[in-house]
Amino acid sequence: MKLEIQSIDIQDLKPESKTYSKDRVLYVNSKELEEILLKDRRIKSVNIHFVYPGDRVRIVNLMDVVQPRCKIDKVEADFPGFIGKMQPAGSGRTRSLRGITVLVSNPGTNRKYSALLDMSGLVAEMSRYARMRHLCIVPTISEGTEERDFEDAVKIAGLKTAVYLARGAEGHPVDEVEIYELDIPSLNKKSNLPRVAYYYQLYSPQHDHIGISDPCFYGTDVRNLTPTIIHPNEVLDGGVVGAHTIRALDTYTIQNHGIIKELYHRHGKDLIFAGVVCGVANMEPVTRSRQAMMAANLVKNVLGADGVVLTKIHGGLPHVDLAMVAEECEKLGVKTAIFIQPLISYGTLADTLLFNAEAVNLIITVGATMERINIPLDAERFLGGTADTKIYCPDPIVQHAGDPVLDVEQFLIAGVHDHLGGAKIIVKEY
């Protein structure tokens, strides 16, 4: 499978009566975009905002951040299963705009862990998104639409907006072309290089909002997914999107998947990228041990890997589940490097482990995403909510977006942490 990503560096984003791009400026006809989004009858209305670095604005109720991308050589092929026709993602040519994103906010959300982003103040120093320009879409629910159904509609609206913006840059000179090519069936078995696979924990159903899983894989949910081999390009090119709460794993992060890009970068140089197995965390111990065994078996006996890197999503059960997969891999002789996310900020690093298998001895701290931080209010206005929007904090604190100081766990701030390994953060004992 061969994927070509053509990247354009956009330096400004402006409203205009027509959508087009010139000299690194993307001009956007938001009225036209609005009409496209309103075709989805679940959406009653949508506000579209242009957001710039330094703006004294706080965006709340964030459910996703998406990089503008579209297929160049295929039609109806963007985010297959979500918007585009069902087909494998990850081949052909894709346009990608750098320097801008789509911020997707659901102002009526009941989800506790909705993210926030400030474009000025302390958050602007911490978040990679604060340096970019954004089109922020804020849809409202139409009468008679169910809450969960609307959330899916909002998600899709974000993806459609990302495609719309990328299309708007048609004809603009390209800054960088990256080729992602991995022909797994014919990977050179005679090579001396170690074969490294990637185990991708996609989801855990333990936090499903009102008991319904979020669609994150070709437009469907994966709560019962058996370990599955996928091609890494499917991840990079729209087959996988973030869940309906960000928690350090938004669609933008997946589109720029840290581990997949790193393994591609080193493929043929000091390793062979043997492929990707994906799975989900399991609620039932019987299923969990079967899935762990199956995942390890795919890694070892189907992909033929010598080593595997394993990443997780936010949470404690995902940690336990991932460790079981790692343990099974080690039992089959596959060496592992496992990501953990310390859940608390006091104790030693060893205290944060929920497993203790001697062979699982290479542990990477991707970030203590629940570390608390005080954010003084610098914003003068709010998007996606108001000053009264509740911002999550563990009991007993109750706080609102307009409070002079917010006490938040870092994973609630979009663009600080990255469960897929793309951030230069490590957890240390102090």
Binding site: L122, P194, Q206, G211, G258, I259, E262, L263, D270, L271, G307, V309, G315, G316, L317, K335, A337, F339, I340, P342, L343, I344, S345, Y346, G347, T348, L349, A350, D351, L353, N356, E358, V360, N361, L362, I363, I364, T365, V366, G367, A368, M370, E371, I373, P394, D395, P396, Q410, V416, H417, D418, G422, A423, K424, I425, I426, V427, K428, E429, Y430
Partner: protein
Amino acid sequence: MSGKKLKVIHYLNQFFGQIGGEDKADIGFMVKTGPIGPGLALQKALGDQADVIATVICGDNYFSKNPEQAGEEGLRLIEPYHPDLFFAGPAFAAGRYGIACGAICKAVGEKFGIPVVTGMYQENPGVDLYRKYAYICKTGNSARDTTESINHMIKLTFKLVSGEKGAHLVSRENLPKPEEYGYFSRIILRNEYTDKTAAERSVDKLLAKLLDKQFESEVVLPKFEKIPPPPPVKNLNTCEIVLVSDGGLVPRGNPDRLSGRGNLRWTTYEIDTFLPESFKSTDYEIAHTGYFPVQILEDPNRLVPADVMRDLIKEGKVGKLHPSFFSTSGNATVSRRCAEMGDEMGAEIKKRGVEAVILTST
């Protein structure tokens, strides 16, 4: 730093305070004006940034009889000075002295919120007991290094009061790196910026592991203590069993305020009134944000199997169901507190003469 000179209090034991040796170890607290003994090196290192205005001295035996109490007593003597900085020792390898330094640093630090700095050798028992409450610099095991150790303590202190932002931390706190400033980590964790992404680090280290080369895991696996297994229950039909759960099941309103995450409490409920044979789902809450609670709320017996236990007692298969149900919530609570709660509950259960426990967890 402001032009104002910082006020410093220094704590010493009877020996370094030049009162006497082991023969004077029982002596109680006293306060002397200005620096004494190693305090002179302390004053020199502080230069004109700060004044060692007083030295508090106490005998090691007197202090170690009851360190918490002695810490409070020392604190009362120190309070009137309203210090900006507090130093103790360094204690090197001396155990009683190390505990005294740690305890008095803890008391002063908690009261005033000022930097409290001391120095100890790694095997000093004061290190593990007090590292969370003070900055304990790593020293050698001999007092020959006093001046060097004091300079080391001052270097750390100047960093602490510098008012700089910690650009190396996501939180931007001014927390000096333990390796850089040579102190025992204070058992907290912080997100630190580093030069390589987690993806780069993981692949680098995995390759080293694959090539049988040295690699450094970012976390080292802990050693859990072995708990000797209690002997089996001999006679079930005379046995009293208590039900315990960490799934966070509480009455509606959560009157005992169990926390859904990072919970630190446990409580008991009379099981017959709490979970009667005919119950209403709306009478319960789950104080636990780590799992989706709908099924348990529909029927709490799915977490606390009281219905089955009652049947088994009627049938004579079990002697007795203990009238109290022990409830707590185990979700992202630091393991030390979990162990403490377990000890507390265990002690209470033993006190009540109950023989066996069924613990149900989510």
